[in-house]
């Protein structure tokens, strides 16, 4: 690899970890599992990418789990997702806690709402001129008030292309320093254009690690048959070949069945050994 567009100290594998749900009836078990996953990701030298009420389903926050369970966030190895469905107080609390825990990477996304989740207001983000707070306002706010943080943004290659690139420019202008795409399962022309037009921008592509490919139907915008055969590991290998300069974000990774295969694939892990 002559050139790696992943910045230093930014390991190429992001492993998504979803914190326990608020309505969990076996919370302690879920927390134990969270801790085990987190520690394993830390030990591998990967980045633990911790979601924020994914799909609008109420869950505990990543920083709470880390703090409450006494886990250790290794420098540069934790990425906290942060969406626009919070009160201002909660937002500040999360960012302050991250600083306390030595976590300085956040992925700022618009996110999914639910009746239970409050939404940040434009005035709270010092963006009175906008109708509603999106990731752009959130990125700008974090950069303005928490300059130590590196803020990432999402990139969706399935949205109308022109629109998505315009949005990307606004996110970058607001201070986004890296992007993570929606899941792709093959060479994607929009991602190709992204890499070509933004050569300095660190890009991480999301790989779908579940065998249930049809769950992606809503993301890609067309129906995928329920019986579609899909080999996640094989697809991941191919994506790594197609996009050697990109990091890879692993969603729905099976810790029991897939983790060792991922570790074996990883340059960081080999170096760590």
């Amino acid at each position: 690899m002559e050139k790696n567009n992943t910045p230093k100290g930014f390991p190429a594998f992001h492993v998504e970890i979803i914190p326990p749900k608020q309505d969990s009836v076996k919370l302690e078990d879920d927390l134990t599992l969270f801790a085990a996953k987190f520690e394993r990701v830390m030990a591998s030298g990967f980045t633990a990418s911790i979601t924020d009420n994914a799909m609008g389903l109420l869950a505990f926050q990543g920083h709470e789990c880390i703090e409450e369970l006494g886990l250790k966030a290794r420098p540069g190895q934790v990425l906290i997702h942060l969406n626009t469905f919070h009160t201002k107080e909660t937002l500040e609390e999360i960012l302050t806690a991250c600083q306390r825990l030595g976590i300085f990477s956040v992925l700022a996304i618009s996110g999914d709402g639910s009746p239970r989740l409050p939404k940040l207001k434009p005035a709270e983000m010092e963006a009175e001129e906008t109708e509603a707070v999106t990731s752009v306002e959130l990125i700008r706010y974090i950069r303005r008030h928490y300059p130590l943080f590196t803020v990432g943004a999402a990139f969706n290659p399935y949205e109308p292309e022109k629109h998505e690139f315009e949005k990307l420019d606004r996110k970058l202008e607001a201070g986004a320093a890296f992007v993570i795409t929606q899941p792709i399962i093959e060479k994607n022309s929009v991602v190709d254009r992204l890499l070509q037009d933004y050569p300095e921008l660190p890009v991480t592509v999301e790989a779908w690690m579940s065998k249930k490919l049809y769950l992606l139907s809503d993301v890609v915008g067309y129906p995928i048959p329920e019986d579609a055969v899909f080999d996640p590991i094989d697809t991941l290998r191919r994506l790594r070949d197609i996009y050697p300069l990109c990091g890879t974000y692993l969603s729905l990774l099976g810790f029991k069945t897939q983790y060792e295969l991922i570790e074996a694939m990883s340059p960081e892990r080999r170096e760590a050994r």
């Binding site: 709402g113 639910s114 009746p115 109708e131 509603a132």
Partner: protein, 345 residues
């Protein structure tokens, strides 16, 4: 009150309505209730009595007779100017114990929905909220009350055979008001606030009217309504534009309101407003039954949605299948074009 014998049961007579009086004027829902009560009373061979609690509304009694009341119990007192749960409940409790109505109907307004359950609690009477149908069982004379249950997915018929009075609330516009008969009169029974009525009653420090903040879905000729598929508050900005172009009001499904995209006064359906407009344009509303029963009496229903298998798309007179965020702007543009041509011509 639990009924111990047939003799006791037959001592309860007549159908009562509680008039909705606000700021000295009778609210139209009061006439809708009288219309429903008239049908029930005729089926029972009994009378319609309307209780009108308020202040400065004595002159309104005539209209209550015109719509079908046989007797009006009037309590005109300055302490009844604003709604006071305890005071009105105490008066009604006293009157119902004295006169023993068989049936008592009240509007399911914010006042009725607070007052009547308190009264039912005191009297140990059966109460059915938000009825969409009221009838008399021809067999035993019981009141059959129909209301949507389980989020409006099913209609339940409810009765309270062993208790009197049988009490029900009805939302505004669910029943239609009868044609008034000017000159029809009846007996006015004047009652007063008694000393016992004002015991343990709250203080009303101030009543504030906020004109303009009210969304008048009821007065609109056209409603442009949005649901879950409008995706967010931005979607409703688009619908505002659409609505203002056609001179309509913006409505919403419960899902959109629950998500905080638009405020509750815009909600149409069983738990919001019931509407009967000339045109109802449903944008991205799948059509949960609780929504449909609030708007299916509109004259022309137009549905726009990406999924044409939804109940709303099936119910509609005109169903447009496609991407809401492409269709709606295109429709707005088209209507603007037609209108500007019409203005020129």
């Amino acid at each position: 009150m639990k009924i111990q014998s047939e003799q006791e049961k037959s001592s309860y007579k007549n159908v009562w309505t509680v008039a909705e009086v606000a700021n000295g004027a009778v609210h139209p829902v009061s006439y809708e209730l009288i219309g429903a009560a008239r049908r029930l009373a005729d089926a029972r061979g009994s009378q319609v009595w309307t209780v009108a609690l308020g202040c400065g509304h004595t002159g309104e009694a005539g209209s209550l007779f015109a719509y079908g009341a046989d007797k009006v119990i009037l309590v005109d007192d300055s302490r009844l100017e604003a709604f006071n749960d305890e005071l009105e409940c105490n008066i009604l409790q006293r009157l119902t114990i004295r006169y023993r109505p068989e049936i008592l109907l009240c509007a399911a307004t914010s006042r009725g929905r607070a007052l009547i359950p308190r009264l039912a609690g005191k009297l140990h009477a059966g109460l059915t909220a938000d009825c969409t149908g009221l009838a008399i069982d021809p067999g035993n004379g019981d009141l059959l009350q129909t209301r949507p249950a389980f989020g409006g997915n099913i209609m339940a018929t409810i009765r309270s055979s062993e208790y009197r009075p049988q009490m029900a609330t009805v939302r505004p516009k669910v029943m239609s008001a009868p044609e008034p008969l000017p000159g029809r009169t009846g007996e006015i029974i004047r009652e007063t606030v008694e000393p016992g009525d004002v015991f343990k009653v709250k203080e009303i420090l101030q009543s504030v009217r906020q004109n303009g903040s009210a969304v008048s879905l009821g007065d609109a000729r056209i409603i442009v309504a949005g649901g879950r598929a409008m995706k967010g508050p931005e979607g409703f900005v688009l619908l505002e534009r659409f609505a203002s172009l056609v001179g309509g009001a913006v409505g919403a499904s419960r899902a959109a309101v629950d998500n905080g995209w638009i405020s509750y006064p815009h909600q149409v359906g069983q738990t919001g407003a019931t509407v009967q407009t000339d045109v109802y344009i449903a944008c991205g509303i799948s059509g949960q039954i609780q929504h449909l029963i609030g708007m299916q009496s509109c004259k022309t229903i137009i549905a726009i949605d990406v999924d044409d298998t939804t109940p709303m798309m099936k119910l509609a007179d005109i169903a447009v299948k496609g991407d809401l965020f492409e269709i709606i702007p295109a429709v707005i543009k088209e209507i603007e074009t037609v209108k500007s041509k019409q203005e020129k011509a």
